[in-house]
């Protein structure tokens, strides 16, 4: 052994080729690391381009104060400068220079066809603002800035609302490059002349939706656990042949289109549906409301997400030798004690994995709540979709998405502290 080892004059170990062993080892390790990195490079690149960058850009939209693609201060440079001298608290309309600046900026915006987008941006904060911008664009573009003043009267001629102090306060409050108003809206708050306040109770929706989404997701997770645990145990306990047969029954719905399964539940659960017809045939007179409400969402989503609970549970239970339970019983434990103290603790990594999977999938679910949720069974994802596609308020959609992401990460952190993520096992 000693004969193969070389030392240099300082007593350092040398490799066979005479370089210090430490250096040689580092080189070999580096080569290995580069090879490993090259192997995952396609995936890394793919994830970065298709996932990290778009999400990052989307999250940025939640704070950027833009109308269309441009920032508000770039679209209204003159107004933003002039309005700094005006105080909403004074209770007076802004002075002539502000209106003059507005005429300049609106004319430019109209030329670039940005004036309605400006109006839409401010309309998110105060209803009614989009119409005065749309109305004014063409008229203002015909004015001569040098000779046609004063402009305050002319704006008030177009619409009295140009004298509305609330509207001007909105413009002043949203004149920076970045804004917090989307996040405030995501928490049902708004900035008023008296500072940040909660919206009227009849306009609060996002906090309610957030709580409901989390609560229903938790309930669905629990239901999949309650239904899935015995099935997984049965699967793990049966001889391989019949277990495989049952496993296919678990997987079959998993392979069926989500839309088909959701629609099937509609047919089963509606008031004139199969289950209600059976219920009436049993002699009951009242038909039950099983769908288009929270109950329908819980039923359909529990069914759809069930395999995500059963599969991790099954693969963990598979590794628990049956002899443990027999040993516990031969040492005098009753069935309950043997299960509670010997079997169940060994399945917790599977429960953890299944619950995390189901919960996180449920929180972001969209199609099923949209189709069977009715009025009170929709999730926050349905509102995010609405803001993206129908309303076009991408800033608010991005803010809601960010809040959702943070909440899920927070829950994951709490879970890690309570249970420990190391305890999660998929098989």
């Amino acid at each position: 052994m000693m004969a193969d080892t070389h030392f240099d004059e300082n007593g350092l170990v040398l490799a066979a080729d005479g370089t210090p062993l430490k250096q040689s080892l580092a080189r070999a390790l580096r080569a290995q690391k580069i090879r490993a990195l090259l192997l995952i490079a396609p995936l890394l690149l793919f994830v970065t381009i298709s996932f990290v960058l778009p999400i990052g850009e989307m999250l940025m939209r939640s704070v950027q104060n833009t109308a269309g693609t441009e920032y508000i201060p770039d679209l209204m440079p003159n107004v933003v400068e002039e309005i700094q001298d005006w105080e909403p608290a004074s209770g007076e309309m802004p002075a002539e220079p502000v209106y003059r600046a507005l005429a300049q900026d609106l004319a430019t915006a109209f030329e670039n066809r940005n004036h309605t987008q400006l109006g839409r941006r401010f309309n998110y904060e105060s209803a009614g603002m989009s119409s005065i911008f749309r109305k004014s664009g063409r008229r203002v573009s015909n004015w001569d800035i040098e000779t046609d003043g004063p402009f305050r009267e002319k704006f008030l001629d177009i619409d009295d609302d140009w004298g509305n102090i609330e509207y001007w306060a909105t413009i002043k409050a949203n004149s920076g490059y970045y804004t917090t108003s989307y996040f405030l809206a995501a928490f049902d708050a708004q900035r008023t002349s008296e500072g940040i306040q909660m919206k009227d109770p009849d306009q609060r929706i996002y906090s309610k939706l957030m709580v409901r989404t989390l609560w229903l997701s938790f309930l669905i997770t629990f239901c999949t656990f309650a239904l899935g645990y015995p099935v997984a145990w049965l699967l793990a306990d049966l001889p391989a042949k019949s277990a495989n047969m049952l496993l296919i029954l678990v997987l079959l719905p998993f392979w069926t289109s989500l839309l088909v399964r959701t629609s099937a539940w509609k047919i089963l659960l509606q008031q004139q549906g199969v289950i209600n017809d059976f219920w009436i045939a049993l002699g009951f007179t009242e038909r039950m409301s099983l769908i288009n409400n929270q109950l329908g969402v819980v039923i359909a989503m529990t069914h759809i997400l069930l395999p995500f609970m059963i599969l991790p549970l099954y693969s963990v239970m598979k590794t628990i030798p049956p002899s443990y339970l027999r040993a516990a019983k031969s040492l005098g434990a009753t069935n309950t004690v043997a299960f509670m103290r010997v079997y169940f603790p060994q399945t917790t990594p599977g429960i953890g994995a299944g619950s995390l999977l189901v919960f996180i999938l449920a929180v972001g679910y969209f199609i099923t709540p949209e189709l069977v949720g009715g009025a009170d069974g929709t999730f926050i994802s349905n509102r995010i979709y609405y803001q993206f596609s129908s309303s076009g308020n991408w800033g608010l959609a991005a803010a809601l998405g960010t809040v959702m992401l943070v909440v899920v990460l927070l829950l994951y952190y709490i879970y890690d502290k309570l249970v420990g993520v190391d305890n999660v096992k998929l098989g």
Binding site: G68, T69, N112, R113, N114, H115, T116, Q117, N123, Y124, A127, G128, M129, S130, S131, R134, G137, D202, Q203, R204, I205, K208, L209, R212, Q270, Q271, Q272, N292, E370, G374, A375, D376, R383, F388, S389, S391, G392, N393
Partner: protein
């Protein structure tokens, strides 16, 4: 002599051929048309895309069904500087939005569109349906109610039957948005039609509309896709429900369901074409040529043989004939038919553009209560 004739004939043919070639030389030989899919897009294909293709052999027409997301998609395409659409079917409100944002091309209606057969210029023939400088109207459709004829004791005559749960017990289907529902609620609460939007602008007015809707809230199924109501009616899930009149027509005439139309206070809306701004010259020339053909008096009347939406041209109405397959008279099924249009209101685009975001969040909050 014979030779002479042949030479002349050949020359004429060649000249004609060159002329025809020069004419189509400036036009792109492919065109992407975006619409809503389903029976509606089919009516467009049958009434004018197929005939136009027959007139222009070699032309490729690509159809897309993205009209539902037309505004957001056009915005994204224009940001990316690559607009691949040549012609887009949109509702009047979306058309106005796209025009205001400079994403749709402004057009001169009289120059671009064919006059009526009697020479009436296009702007007069289309009349009030030209709601924006970019909008080329095609059809008038309405959102209105259908009811199960076998589940009611007496035929409902007024839209307020929707709020009358004593005479008409059972569930109702309403669209999951404030537009339309708020107006109907106020009308049935006794607000005069001319005051509806002024009332909705006030907080008390909004509360009043919600209070009226509260009376049927727990008996309402909320829909978000137009196909849901006909299905709910066919299943007997609801006794009455709102949807687009063309959908109800299909359920009644084509599928023979026991459903009746309730036209009272139907809400009119328009649908038409817009041309994306800044198209290359050859594509623009092709689209202009197509649009002139597709919106002439006869073509708009032809479309009504496939779907029960009213042509936007006044001169098309007398030409509306029978259903292409069923052979029934289409005129009585049009939302614009005088017998159906006794009480109508036009969806107020401008008003909703300002108040939609605000009322929508109040509506959603109300649904959550």
């Amino acid at each position: 002599m014979k030779l002479m004739k042949t030479i002349i004939g050949t020359t004429a043919l060649t000249v004609a051929g060159v002329a025809a070639h020069a004419d189509s030389h400036n036009m792109a030989d492919s065109m992407t048309v975006v619409s809503w899919g389903g029976a509606y897009q089919n009516s467009q294909v049958q009434a004018y895309i197929e005939p136009y293709k027959e007139m222009n052999p070699g032309l490729e027409v690509i159809t897309d069904e993205s009209s539902g997301e037309a505004v957001t998609k056009l915005r994204a395409m224009s940001e990316a500087g690559n607009v691949t659409w040549d012609l887009v079917d949109v509702t009047a409100a979306d058309g106005m939005r796209l025009c205001d944002e400079g994403l749709a091309m402004e057009i001169d209606h009289d120059e671009m569109l064919a006059p009526a057969p009697d020479g009436t210029p296009a702007t007069e023939d289309f009349g009030g349906s030209i709601v924006s400088d970019c909008f080329i109207p095609q059809i008038v459709f309405s959102t209105t109610f259908g009811y199960r004829t076998d589940m009611v004791d007496q035929k409902p005559e007024s839209v307020c039957a929707v709020f009358d749960t004593e005479t008409y017990p059972g569930q109702r289907a309403l669209e999951k948005r404030p537009i339309g529902n708020m107006e109907w609620a106020l009308i049935c609460d006794g607000v005069a039609i001319d005051d509806v939007y002024d009332t909705l602008e006030t907080e008390e007015g909004v509360e009043r509309a919600f209070a009226k809707l509260d009376t049927i809230k727990d008996q309402t199924v909320w829909w978000s896709a137009g196909a849901e109501t006909p299905q709910l009616l066919a299943d007997g899930e609801v006794v009455m429900g709102s949807t687009y009149n063309g959908r109800l027509f299909s359920a009644i005439a084509e599928q023979d369901q026991p459903i009746g139309m309730l036209w009272d206070w139907q809400m009119f809306d328009l649908d038409g074409w817009i041309i994306p701004a800044d198209l290359p010259a050859d594509r623009l020339a092709r689209v202009k040529d197509f649009v002139r053909f597709a919106t002439d008096t006869q073509r708009l009347a032809d479309q009504a043989a496939y779907i029960s939406y009213g042509p936007a041209r006044a001169s098309s109405a007398p030409l509306v004939g029978e259903h292409a397959e069923l052979g029934i008279e289409m005129a009585p099924h049009m939302p614009t038919d005088p017998a159906n249009a006794e009480n109508t209101f036009l969806f107020n685009y401008n008003w909703w553009a300002s108040y939609r975001d605000d009322l929508d969040s109040q509506f959603q909050a109300w649904l959550l209560e």
